[in-house]
């Protein structure tokens, strides 16, 4: 038995002697490795190991949370969490009923990424860096590789005891080109649920990225204003995550009567062709799991079906308060944080249009590809494309500097008037909410066309 299994068994006994509406414990044991390159040289390589845990208690709707990596005095930690919850509590607790689960989830990756020899990882990154540096006129490059493997034990006062293992691999490459005081960069990022082979064999994409950095130096900046915009599957995935996904996280909604009125189930958000899903139950993606961090089984949740709001993402508390079913979306980035409502794998379901159908009748528009970043304020969102082209008379035209797009969730989804037939999932990056970043998620979409989209520029 590992250290956390022993502690898990002790804690399952300890929490029995404390009185609260609900008590849970989460214990984690993890290993990580990382390698970064700056320019031609390997810059940093390291390995880490961590063990820690937390106790969360609920009393009269108030939560106490205690995290630690010193395992002395476990009863003291439980007592502190319960006392804090009593302090914070001020009305009856509500928590959706779920069946207690006892499960040891088998490990589903053949080869844990952290056990792969550093030499093998370095060989692959050396190859990619070689490809980048074959591009003439490049100033520098940045490569960041990271992997992790953790074992998580969850147990609660209702008798659940769950052991799960999770692994994650991320890779981000950036090529930087300069001319005079002009600096331009091109990058791409991807990841996998622990499968190292998914980041192998990308030499061609790395070469294209490096070329693009150089071409950006002489590319013009778009003129700011409203355009018809076509998004590729990667960027449309970021768009659905930012523009709609965060708004469907019920912790923003459940205590907010005004927002509840706006987010009434049945409200029309888009055309009848628009379907948006969040599902941790799809296997093999970075946001996939069997149980969330409250021990609730993963589900597939339609957020929008045929253009109408039909569902949202829940923790046990938000589900109870909104009198809806829990969806298994309570997640924490690590034992240092309590679980909060998060997305998992979020995507727009494919429609019927081909790429040519989508751009064919656009006189002047913008084709935006690839991911730089995105953020939301619920109503407003911005997201940025690493790669963009003008569309003129139904054809792709000149390359543009990276563009930032912005919109309003209540109008922009309605302005989607074409959905492609080519769904792809993007596994790069990670999601941030409050302090909890980065959380492994996947986003996806087919190509989509948005009318009247505001693009920042000259």
């Amino acid at each position: 038995m590992t250290q956390i299994e022993v502690i898990g068994r002790q804690l399952a006994e300890v929490i029995k002697s404390y009185s609260a509406d609900y008590i849970e414990a989460r214990l984690e044991q993890s290993r990580t490795s990382h390698i970064t390159y700056r320019g031609r040289e390997l810059e940093s390589i390291g390995k880490t190991s961590a063990v820690g845990g937390n106790i969360r208690a609920l009393v009269r709707s108030g939560w106490g949370f205690v995290s630690f990596n010193d395992f002395d005095d476990l009863p003291g930690r439980v007592e502190l969490a319960v006392n804090q919850a009593q302090f914070a509590g001020n009305r009856a607790s509500q928590l959706a009923q779920v069946e207690p689960v006892v499960d040891i989830v088998p490990w589903d990756i053949d080869r844990s990424p952290v056990t792969i020899p550093l030499a093998e990882k370095k060989r692959l990154l050396d190859e990619y860096n070689g490809v980048i540096w074959r591009t003439p006129k490049l100033q520098t490059s940045i490569i960041g590789y990271g992997d992790s493997h953790k074992k998580v034990i969850f147990l609660n006062s209702s008798g659940s005891y769950i052991e799960q293992e999770r692994a994650d691999v991320t890779l981000r490459l950036t090529a930087v080109a300069t001319e005079g005081s002009e600096v331009q960069q091109a990058g791409f990022s991807l990841g996998s649920k622990g499968d190292f082979s998914q980041i192998q064999g990308l030499h061609h994409q790395v070469e294209q990225m490096s070329q693009r950095a150089m071409e950006l130096i002489s590319a013009p900046q778009v003129k700011g204003g409203e355009y018809t915009v076509v998004l590729d599957p990667v960027l449309a995935g970021v768009f659905v995550h930012e523009a709609f996904g965060h708004l469907s996280e019920s912790d923003f909604v459940y205590e907010n009567d005004r927002l509840r009125q706006i987010m009434t189930l049945g409200r029309k958000f888009g055309s009848t062709e628009l379907n948006i899903v969040d599902s941790a139950a799809v296997p093999g993606l970075r946001g996939s799991y069997k149980y969330d961090d409250e021990g609730v089984p993963a589900t597939k949740t339609y957020l929008i079906r045929e253009g109408k709001l039909v569902g949202r993402l829940h923790s046990r508390e938000t589900a109870a308060k909104m009198k809806e079913k829990p969806t298994g979306n309570a997640r924490a980035v690590s034992y240092r944080y309590p679980p909060i409502v998060r997305m998992t794998n979020t995507y727009i379901e494919p429609g019927s249009a081909s790429f040519d159908d989508i751009i064919g009748d656009i006189k002047e528009g913008v084709y935006a590809k690839n991911w730089y970043g995105g953020t939301t304020s619920m109503e407003m969102f911005t997201f940025s494309a690493g790669e963009a082209y003008m569309i003129r008379n139904g054809k792709l035209a000149e390359m543009l500097r990276p563009v930032v797009l912005t919109g309003n969730v209540f109008t922009t989804l309605n302005n989607i008037d074409a959905i492609g037939n080519d769904l792809e999932m993007n596994q790069g990056g990670g999601c941030g909410k409050g302090e909890q970043v980065p959380l492994p998620v996947a986003n996806g979409s087919p190509h989509i066309r948005i009318r009247h989209c505001l693009v920042g520029g000259k």
Partner: protein, 433 residues
């Protein structure tokens, strides 16, 4: 720690152990009500070695398994970068006050009361607003020892409080907020609540701006959300060394408006960004970066400084617990003499920007930014007339700061890492629906 250092020295030429322990307590309010009380204890220990001339690195939360820590560092050192620096020998550190023992005596009750006092004035001003508030106190201990006898030890207390309000009217949403931090306990929430009230007053009416080129006043929060990330990147000695900083070859040259002065300062008493030494044990110092618009220095850690044939500026930072890398401690923009009122009165049509959402998503290296005005106001004929929405503002930091009309006379701390006054710039590109 000494044991780990001793074990590491048996297999490596040089070694350094860096340990951080922290205790943090916070109370959090949700939808105007107390909801969470949290306490977090954490320990982490990092080992950096030089073995056969190369750098190895490992980190752990476990103090009881030093052999694992040493093994991991040895394994990584096979592939590590050649070490060009030496760990600091015993040094004398400046006396910088960052510990206030009074923080310990602030009770949960006191913290709850502060949170209630943050929310009450806001909800009594605007009854249908929903606030989230947080009051946090923490104590962090840092301990560094290395194989050259270098040793540094300090403890810092940090107290912070903040409130964010959201006001929803149909599908129109307004977000306001303010926060404050110090090494002292903050006994009074009023200053923070007053800023939020000011934001609510100005956002009461709506206004629309024309697309095109407009003058802009960045508030201290606006400077933080828009202009600072590209500058923090540009002054990073590592990017300068690689030729990826647009100002890397402009040392001694005027790049910005001559009214602009900027420095990095970890030596100010009782500021959360201050400390007697950096994360490599190099003594803290104030480093001028822009003097009268001219670039005068970049920021370095030990390894980068050695590669660039210069000295560390004491800016080695282990941001995510990894190897040290150059990073600012606290950026200070020198105040000028113009009041915000004078700036506003000077404008015919323009914007005041508090928060530009997404500005940091563009080509930060090149200084480009573009974002949606999440909180900002329109100025018309010398008066703030209302809040603007559905508006994008774009620009390039190097063009925007080349010509500054005026610099404000009231600097403010934002997020603990930046002190800046208002900046009034003549022309930014604005796209509006």
């Amino acid at each position: 720690m000494e044991d780990i250092l001793a074990q590491a020295k048996r297999v490596a030429e040089e070694a350094e152990v860096f340990a951080v322990t922290s205790e943090e307590t916070s109370v959090q309010f949700e939808a105007n009500r107390l909801k969470h009380i949290q306490s977090k204890q954490s320990t982490s220990i990092a080992l950096r070695i030089v073995r056969q001339g190369k750098i190895g690195y490992s980190a752990s939360t476990r103090l009881d398994d030093s052999q694992d820590l040493v093994n991991m560092a040895v394994e990584t050192a096979q592939f590590g970068m050649p070490a060009r620096f030496e760990f600091p020998s015993p040094a004398s550190y400046p006396e910088i006050e960052v510990l206030d023992p009074d923080i310990e005596s602030v009770s949960i009750d006191d913290m709850i009361k502060l949170g209630e006092e943050l929310i009450a004035p806001v909800t009594s001003h605007t009854p249908d607003i929903l606030c989230e508030a947080q009051v946090t106190k923490s104590l962090v201990s840092v301990h560094i020892i290395n194989s050259r006898g270098g040793q540094a030890n300090y403890r810092i207390t940090i107290f912070s409080l903040g409130v964010e309000g959201s006001l929803i009217r149909d599908t129109d949403m307004l977000f306001v907020g303010e926060s404050q931090s110090s090494c002292h306990p903050l006994p009074d929430s009023r200053v923070v609540a007053e800023v939020v009230l000011w934001q609510l007053e100005l956002a009461e009416n709506r206004a629309s701006v024309s697309s095109g080129s407009l003058p802009v006043i960045f508030t201290p929060n606006g400077v933080a959300s828009t202009l600072i990330s590209p500058l923090m990147t540009a002054f990073n000695g590592k990017l300068v060394l690689q030729g990826a900083s647009p100002i890397g070859n402009k040392l001694g040259q005027p790049v910005f408006d001559e009214k602009l002065w900027l420095w990095d300062d970890p030596t100010i008493a009782y500021r959360p960004g201050s400390r007697p030494c950096d994360d490599e044990g190099v003594p803290s110092r104030r480093t001028p970066l822009i003097e009268q618009g001219t670039i005068v220095n970049f920021l370095y850690d030990l390894q980068t400084a050695a590669l660039a044939r210069t000295q560390s500026t004491g800016n080695g930072s282990r941001n995510r617990g990894g190897l040290p890398t150059p990073s600012p401690s606290a950026f200070i923009v020198a105040p000028g003499s113009t009041t915000l009122d004078e700036m506003v009165r000077d404008m015919k049509e323009g914007l005041v920007i508090e928060h530009l959402m997404g500005a940091e998503q563009g080509n930060i290296l090149g200084g480009d930014f573009s974002g949606n005005v999440l909180l900002g106001y329109k100025v018309e004929n010398g008066k703030i007339v209302g809040r603007v929405k559905d508006t994008m503002v774009s620009g390039n930091v190097y063009q925007v700061l080349k010509q500054i009309i005026a610099i404000g006379n009231e600097p403010k701390w934002v997020g603990g890492f930046l002190s800046t006054p208002h900046l009034y710039c003549p022309s930014l590109s604005v796209a509006s629906k």
